[in-house]
Symmetry: C2
Subunit: 492 residues, 2 copies
Amino acid sequence: MSKAITSRSQDYSQWYNDLILRGGLADYSAVRGCMVIKPYGFTLWENMRDVLDRMFKETGHQNAYFPLFVPKSLFEAEEKNAEGFAKECAVVTHYRLKSDPNNKGKLMVDPEAKLEEELVVRPTSEAIIWNTYKDWIQSYRDLPILVNQWANVVRWEMRTRLFLRTAEFLWQEGHTAHATMEEAVEETRKMLDVYADFVENYMALPVIKGVKTPNERFAGAEDTYCIEALMQDGKALQAGTSHFLGQNFAKAFEVKFLNRENKQEYVWATSWGVSTRLIGALVMAHSDDEGLVLPPRIAPLQVVIVPIFKGEEQKQRIDAKVAEITKGLKALGISVKYDDSDNNRPGWKFAEYELKGVPVRLALGARDLEQNVVEVARRDTKEKQTVSLEGIVAHIQQLLADIQENMYNRAKAFQQANITNADTWDEFVQVLDGKAGFVAAHWDGTPETEEAIKEQTKATIRCIPLDNTQEEGKCILTGKPSKERVLFARAY
Amino acid sequence: MSKAITSRSQDYSQWYNDLILRGGLADYSAVRGCMVIKPYGFTLWENMRDVLDRMFKETGHQNAYFPLFVPKSLFEAEEKNAEGFAKECAVVTHYRLKSDPNNKGKLMVDPEAKLEEELVVRPTSEAIIWNTYKDWIQSYRDLPILVNQWANVVRWEMRTRLFLRTAEFLWQEGHTAHATMEEAVEETRKMLDVYADFVENYMALPVIKGVKTPNERFAGAEDTYCIEALMQDGKALQAGTSHFLGQNFAKAFEVKFLNRENKQEYVWATSWGVSTRLIGALVMAHSDDEGLVLPPRIAPLQVVIVPIFKGEEQKQRIDAKVAEITKGLKALGISVKYDDSDNNRPGWKFAEYELKGVPVRLALGARDLEQNVVEVARRDTKEKQTVSLEGIVAHIQQLLADIQENMYNRAKAFQQANITNADTWDEFVQVLDGKAGFVAAHWDGTPETEEAIKEQTKATIRCIPLDNTQEEGKCILTGKPSKERVLFARAY
């Protein structure tokens, strides 16, 4: 690597950008706020997507695809939702370009090709989908509808950051329709659990499940459930949300069904989504000053093997052994790359794969071969071990599992160490300005107080934990009585 | 099924729409020219996509993702390409809506949120991608770049048809960069072979590989290779294209590399794509008046089992046997559904799964069970057989293979029977107005003649077959000398 990466202590957000760009995950693009997801980053996303997609199907969902564009009149239909997204949506107004008479070789929007109705590029698809469900639902027999969509969406954010906040991003959005409120709420909670399961067991990132305050709710939802993760700088990151939409969209789009009692009733709805933002969380939670640290279960590349040799004869013997190891690993479904390119020295390769966060690196030299051993380096702890080549494949398989577990435990310990109770305003501010993290504090339950705290500290209520214990207390700002603590944090 | 499907003889294009809509593949949407791909249709697309994606990766390609939007200045850069797509592109001009003061509850485009530069919704991604490759390529060591993208694209077509021609569609677009012309041409041909392999061996649809005439080339390409399929109504359908782009985009975006001789050189390019249009081809090529006929290798559902019983006791015995069969099929990776819903009669279910094109249907009754047999119906020939329950799983596995093969052979025979030589203008017109299909005829090689023939007959040159035999002849229109026949047809 030419120059070193910015360290976390030096400049955390520059460190993050260095990892994304130099780790080969993504690039800036010519389009304001939009990024290019590079092959290495996209393979990571594919691995995450494939696991989630399997989980969705195992819970009875099917994929479908709905239009990218939402006609303005549909976009308007659910008022709160429209209000929430109107400020940041890309709008298509014309359907043709023509050559610019005053500017040879250039094009201009053709004023004669103006759309009768503007089209909003979907920031989320409730409107277009519920307008479709209207035609799909007549009786309770047509319910539930359990549909998911993998798609790109556009939200015209003013301040953007690679993966964390981009004008266009990739996500999945589940949109389900139910005959009863109970069933819809159950679906909302079930999908929250699916998200928590995925983020904890595949991304090795512990989360707190909770419900949002009205201020932080999805526009158009009755209740927004979320999973909140903690980054190394003590800031929180919302990793996924699952919304109970009540009958809001059914009413906005007149979606009724004939229930078992033969009565017309509005349909109950949920929606839930996670996005490429998760990749930002993954990077911020686990990586270090040498580069990315990726969990084995979703890493684009799990094992890299670097040969160390002088001359063809040595190389051939190493190649033969590597072919044998590679075969064994692939048979177990472990991805492996043999980097015997002669462009770079081993030392350069070590740094490169450290930067890219490959969980396990093998370095195999001629002398190792004679002694029937190999150097095995794990990315998470940077420990190196000399291991016998006997049963090396099984050793690596176990090591990958250990790394996955260790990464989770490390992140879990960090999370636990960074949930702090604050009982007074001074304590509250002190923690926020100190180690930060989650601050568990009492709040009087009013949006006004929530807003005031946000203005004074930039901290928001991340969630009211689902497993909260009831406890008498006083609001840290107003001193008014409160029955439970809520989790505050500064967040991405 | 309420009312019967329109028959092919009655109204071929209505028949097609009936199958798409009532077969549950897709729906019209509120957005002009855009469709909703329903779960059954999307599962079909997923199956096709997964096979193609595997083939791309086996040929060394990786997926990536590039922005949905193309700034006008980039869109303009490659003139031919811009000219080709300017007439049909959706243009984003604003990034915000605001509430309409004169129209309570309504929104309007915020004139203060006008973009400095308009953004074109990608109709294809060469421009945005080559503008990015510029930063990725310095020396021959950075080549080749073998990247594919699965994405949605928008082309503002005036006349649209479900799957065949929609304003928004899903596709994959491969974009590769090479150090030499030879390597780029080889890639172009290789991907054409991948497409032919997929369409013939998975979609059971025989194709003709060829090269397009300059008139029919992709805008910005040096050469466009294609695979052409034949529909049951004698019209041709372009099933996939692979383009050799020469150095056109490299020159438009100044993408040079340092070659082995240490000289700066422009990069060589290819692009290739297939889209959800393939689903339209699949439907038109194989289906019949009872509904869809889907090839087992990509069918969303391969086997359906319908129980025929009176009373719980009978049903329980059938359930037990079905559980056993289902277990066996799933173990072989065969998808199966047991439809024991009591909403509908067996007869209704038979018609429903025929409409949906499920390759194999089992009907299992109480008496069958006593005799240890089951009724097996295959969708392609509609033959029914009473088969012993002994080894039924192996029987079904073989039957699915037979159906796949039979569907291909049937389509191949149809294709062969519908390639007709025409040596005079009268013969040419006669065939086109008669059985249609491909007409192999001599052409003087000029765009003018090609255009004149198109105007008079609506027939276009689908391709110059790659395996063409050289043969002296006279152009059917001008009588001028010609060295080979080209394939004409009316096309979708």
